[in-house]
Symmetry: C2
Subunit: 125 residues, 2 copies
């Protein structure tokens, strides 16, 4: 197939955001066709927020937009890989570079890495 197959995911496909420079996996969120089209049109990554049930320009509140550098589609057309430049240096709402900042160990989860920004300052909560 020659394009993302949004029907396979009931309209939503997972999209992995990876730092284009370092290769670090930053986050995973979901895209519908509208988010995908907006992302290609603007060069700024848009997702579909499942919790808010609306189009979501990543960084719309924090200013920490993801600039799309490259998009890749997997072999069966139902997952996207986005290589991005993460403005502000952090993808996670906790202020850490990556949402995957918790390592699984036999003793439980270990949080690694210091926040790049203070979420209370950015989100005002």
């Amino acid at each position: 197939m020659d394009a993302p197959d949004f029907a396979k995911g009931g309209g939503l496909l997972p999209a992995i955001a990876q730092d284009a420079a370092t290769g670090e996996v930053l986050m995973l969120a979901y895209m519908n066709r509208e988010a995908w089209t907006k992302t290609l049109e603007t060069g700024k990554v848009h997702y579909w927020s499942r919790s808010r049930n609306r189009l979501w320009l990543k960084g719309e509140t924090s200013g920490h937009v993801q600039m799309l550098r490259e998009a890749r589609l997997d072999c069966d057309g139902d997952t996207l890989l986005l290589k991005v430049e993460q403005l502000g240096g952090a993808a996670c709402h906790t202020g850490r570079r990556s949402c995957f900042h918790r390592r699984v160990t036999p003793e439980g989860l270990v949080t690694e890495g210091e926040p790049v920004f203070d979420p209370r300052e950015v989100y005002g909560t």
Copy 2:
């Protein structure tokens, strides 16, 4: 939360496999609790095959098992990141290192990278 929240995905969570040495994103597949438990117990990555509706030891046919080197959980507990050693050098059923071997361009998808193995020899089809 201290563990993957399988309920959030209706029992299935996306799991990203990333090459532990190079950082290349190899594939995305899904895990249920059984697949997750088996992966931790054996050190070999197991997924839940949505198409075959059964537990799937990655590499069970090809021998191209993924050895788990590190597992990470995202901030809201509904996506897994697996750092793996990909035996056989390729994760994709097409014989290429990564399932994300198709780059999105304005002119359509461009397939990049040569197969590491011949899928006809490995799968006998």
